[in-house]
Symmetry: C2
Subunit: 693 residues, 2 copies
């Protein structure tokens, strides 16, 4: 794993020469239309128009500089755009570093993604980076846009129409970088920096995220992830950045896209679930597609809600139908839409005609100038942290920007959907944005933006929670049988049922008498990981005869020792595990037990170590969470108890490099709390048993 | 239930006076800006400009007609726009009918949605409709748009910018009607007719759908549903329409929005799941939100794929990153993206540089003029029914419209996403639309449109399947104990395990001996619906002693007779039921058994009667379907066997008005096929036991 500098010691002004260059050289510049070197020179012409030093380099064109050395002689060159074939790139890069150029972009393909000789070309580029310290973006990327610096370092046409603004885009793919930047532009947002990483031979997402943490132009960051090389470093960068500026993440690969993805970047796909879990834990807001990315980051670039555990939304709509779509969508996101307080409803009743719905949602009927007062009244409700509004564009009835500005009376951000078509409507949306109000074109967009503000506020509330370190045993390694594994759980404070280790039948019969009632009788052998599958578990054993039958069966399965345990009360079976992810390191997994839950992969994941408070939120993510909430008169999960158990298990894995995996399956939710019915501890292979990081 | 005319006898030209009027009267017209009567007169001015007869009626304004009678004297009036307070509407409506006006729109609120006197006003309007036959849209709607007829019967500004086209909108809500019409306009689509139903005192969605089936301007229909009054009629209208023109349906109410919804229309919310199932079965394409509605109906208005059971998609992308987003999204929709045939790949290899991905997706790299040939090559692959493409707008590299036109070589429609911003890009998208190619602005939009074409093609393939009627017993009514219920299942060909009805202990012991192995012993009593809950079921009984213990327990639970059954082999437990939905009538439900599946409400629904082929597709919808496909070495569901069982159960309910509900829980999937382990038949209350329809 790549080691990282402690927070605060990062100096990613190393990327300043790339994104705010004094001068740019296009190496392999051309006058032949359609050639990369020509397109790039054309894209960057505006940089020269703005007073930057733009040097075109081509040894075979007399009107251009014959070499990079000549280009740097004519003015400062911080950035080289390298537009030559893959095989020539390492040489040009070395020449650039030699000439004092500190950053380069290699747009062309034919490197690792193409296989064969391309792999060697990429390694040669990496070698120059290691030897010279020059920073390289790409290869295999369409470049970047830095509108505030007047730099359009991309061969894609139309990017000149992208205006400077507050949204940064960090995309794994150059194509997605442009696609998202265009969508943001269409939605009325400006760009602070937009980067497509391509093969990422040197500059990767964490480098850009660290740079953006210090970038005064950036208000919010859209992050597109295809694969992750260094999980802990990405998490640390997102965590640092999210404390300063909101980060919205779109992770690709929910479904089977591996073969195509590999052809694209030459990298293996990361686990979609684990990557999403890690980014969310680091403070990023997750979205499902590029439209949600635009809605969410566009809103967060304009406004941000105060930190709150479970923020409430006040819905204000001028048309009931779209308001119903909005409410349905918010409920699907499990966003709180609380009934407004009596005092709020009383004041709304003074502003609105009788018989409209005023509890929340607030249906204004056809809106008028009182809309601002309505928004202010809803914002003043103690249960409201964000307002989500919708209205068709009706300029004769109300000036939405003016009304929304009046509604912004305290720290309650407003997201407003404006339905309509044409330039006048686009102008009204821009006026709202300029007034610090997030906008959308439809109810789905309002719900997405609102959900993003809520998720960001909840993440910041979590981030403020200090974690008392959980004391866990250390120095644990080697094989554990079930009894030893449960001893370890006992030291973490996790309940088990009374049990006896039995070396022979007499011991087992004594245990049956001692424990009383029904018992479970199991094979006790650290080398057997799946006891049930070999017939090594017998439940509900009551009588000496039944015990003998069970022991006969265990002997037939190869048992040398037995474990006799009191049966646990009935309840809901859960699964809890801690293991090492190859990309992100220690993680914990929590889900419902049983075949159906397993088939649905209904599981919540977190990076370890984590606090009990963080862990306590994991059940909220499960599709089957209703089963934990007194389903059919059953037991209720104590989230705090679960949080303590999960946190302890996570710390155990982190503090014991000798362990590879711990699984409690099932962990049963009973009326008396959580009880571990089985536990498996898998030691780490000797070679791997090094401390993390 | 409202009876409906047989298909083919409908005459919904009854709505022609409303949507293609020769003349329109605005009753309550005004010259005071901001008043409804003024706004409506302004909106309709273009109708007069186009040569239509527009009559403004206001008894207190000398410049206007004093009465409707006077208006009709000045020219033909087919449609009255009634802009007077709710209390005055019934009188004006009667006057209109008297004057020979055949249709009216009541936009104002203050009717059933407001409660109180509003309910009486609405009833009075309904009374006039019943007495005179005048057709009424509303009340409580923003009206309708009929751009081909030059009619803008709406008070919402900006609608004049909506151009004539091929998409019809039928929305429960006036607000959604306008919101969606504006979104369609922004996406480059024109409108054939856009209607908001409001309270639907007379004209409801089926009326409009029947009208659209005969409307030559309409290419596809967007249907927005909040609640359904008459399920069978809606289903029949959608079925008839979908055979002629694609229908895309957005159903509101996935989550708890009931209170607000009721305030909106005064109607109770219909079951979201059942409504979606019914509409899909009738041939509609389902979408999740208004954006998907626009993407889907916009595509289907331009093109339609040939009917196919499980159509395949060829993905062609100029940028790998957006292509990966597209592929991931398509996989999430469970759309087939088959590997292209060798011959196709060979021909692609001649067109494309080496090392690009060509199996499907096809990554063109930076596109050039060969794009048309690439599309044609992919379209010629036998596994490809639809092409989904994406490219950034790069006019220097390729003219997308020209290329896509060349790619349209046979009956394979193309959906193309064009990334970019600004008017030039919008023009390229319009050019594609004009060439019969569906367009989108992003990968999500391409996936939605492609998914819609696929769903439509699959629905049409299903529609062609003829159904051999399943013979089922009739005349069944009254209470059934488990044995009788299983006798009924036996007559349907549904397997059960061998069983004995036992009047006493001696019978039960004889049954144990006869059946051999392990048995289940249950209370046999038609009045006990939940046997397990009262301790009325004992499984795995092997010995006479165990049998006596079980019988003791059953006696304690009040048993007078016992059912002794052979135990079924292990397997996967399912739930299958047939019952009567209050809105849609007989339905069947199929899902996984067990608590987790129940908590997740993982269930597929269909209207009954249905064919075995229709029923066989139900498992595909289950989130946990993997459990039916040899999960962990378990049994595999024979979809054909399930289809026969489900279809039989549905027919049984339809043919036996004396039955209210039949549930098989569990229906166990074993290695030997499906076995019903328990069955409950609930007779209908005497009052309800009338034949359906």
């Amino acid at each position: 794993m790549t080691s990282t500098l402690p927070v605060g010691q990062r100096t990613d002004c190393a990327l300043a020469p790339m994104f705010t260059p004094r001068g740019i050289a296009v190496v392999g510049a051309s006058r032949t239309p359609g050639k990369l070197g020509a397109t790039m020179a054309r894209s960057l012409a505006s940089f020269a128009d703005g007073g930057g030093h733009l040097a075109l380099v081509n040894g075979r064109d007399e009107t251009m500089h014959p070499s990079l050395g000549a280009a740097t002689g004519a003015g400062p060159v911080d950035l080289a755009m390298i537009c030559v074939p893959a095989a020539a790139c390492p040489g040009v890069l070395a020449e650039a570093a030699q000439a004092g150029v500190r950053a380069a972009v290699i747009c062309g393909g034919g490197f690792a993604e193409a296989g064969g000789a391309g792999i060697e070309h990429q390694e040669a580029v990496a070698q120059v980076v290691r030897e010279t310290g020059i920073r390289v973006l790409g290869p295999n990327t369409s470049g970047f846009l830095a509108p505030h610096a007047g730099v359009t370092a991309s061969f894609v046409p139309g990017v000149a129409g992208i205006r400077p603004g507050r949204v940064a885009v960090v995309a794994a793919s150059g194509g997605v970088n442009h696609a998202v930047s265009f969508l943001l532009t269409e939605a009325g947002h400006g760009i602070s920096l937009a980067v497509g990483l391509g093969n990422g031979v040197d500059v990767t997402a964490p480098d850009i995220l660290d740079y953006l943490a210090e970038d005064p132009h950036t208000g919010a960051v859209a992050l597109h992830v295809e694969s992750v090389a260094d999980g802990p470093r990405l998490v640390e960068s997102v965590r640092c950045l999210a404390r300063k500026r909101p980060v919205v993440a779109l992770v690709v690969g929910q479904h089977d896209v591996g073969a195509f993805a590999a052809s694209h970047t030459g990298a293996l796909a990361t686990s979609w679930r684990t990557t999403r879990a890690a980014l969310a834990q680091a403070g990023a807001v997750l979205v499902a597609d590029e439209r949600e990315l635009v809605d969410a980051v566009g809103a967060l670039a304009v406004t941000r809600a105060r930190p709150a555990d479970d923020p409430g939304v006040g819905v204000v709509t001028a048309q009931a139908g779209p308001g119903l779509l909005l409410l349905d969508d918010l409920r699907g996101r499990r966003v709180q839409v609380p009934e407004l307080e009596e005092e709020t409803q009383r004041r709304l009743a003074e502003l609105l005609p009788p018989l409209t719905f005023q509890r929340n949602p607030v249906d204004t009927g056809r809106p008028g100038p009182e809309l601002g007062e309505i928004l202010a009244t809803v914002a003043a409700d103690p249960g409201v942290d964000v307002i989500a509004g919708y209205a068709l564009h009706e300029p004769d009835a109300v000036n939405l920007a003016e009304a929304a500005r009046r509604g912004l009376t305290r720290e309650v951000p407003v997201v407003f959907g404006v339905g309509g078509s044409g330039e006048e409507v686009a102008a009204e949306r821009r006026a709202l944005l300029d007034a610090g109000i997030a906008v959308a074109a439809d109810a789905r967009g309002v719900a997405t933006a609102t959900g993003a503000l809520i998720a960001d506020a909840a993440a910041r509330a979590r981030d403020g929670v200090t974690t008392a370190p959980v004391p866990v045993p250390s120095g644990i390694s080697g094989p554990h049988d079930e009894n030893q594994a449960k001893d370890v759980l006992g030291r973490l404070g996790i309940a088990t049922t009374p049990r006896r280790v039995c070396a022979n039948r007499a011991d087992a019969h004594a245990a049956l008498r001692e424990l009383g009632g029904q018992v479970a009788v199991k094979i006790l052998d650290a080398t057997v990981l799946h006891k049930t599958e070999i017939g090594g578990v017998h439940l509900n054993v009551r009588t000496p005869d039944e015990l003998d039958s069970a022991l006969d069966a265990l002997d037939a399965a190869g048992a040398r020792r037995y474990l006799v345990e009191a049966m646990a009360p009935s309840g809901v079976d859960l699964v809890l595990g801690a293991r090492r992810d190859p990309v992100f390191g220690p993680i914990v997994l929590f889900g419902l037990g049983g075949t159906t839950a397993e088939a649905l992969a209904d599981v919540a994941i977190r990076l370890a170590p984590l606090s009990p408070a963080e862990a306590a939120a994991m059940p909220d993510e499960l599709a089957g969470r209703a089963l934990l909430e007194a389903w059919r008169g059953g037991p209720v999960l104590d989230a705090k108890e679960l949080g303590a158990v999960v946190s302890a298990l996570g710390h155990l894995l982190v503090d014991n490099p000798g362990l590879d995996e711990i699984e409690i399956n099932p962990l049963r939710l009973t009326r008396d709390g959580l009880v571990a019915l089985d536990a498996v501890i898998i030691p780490r292979e000797a070679d791997d048993a090094q401390p993390d990081q």
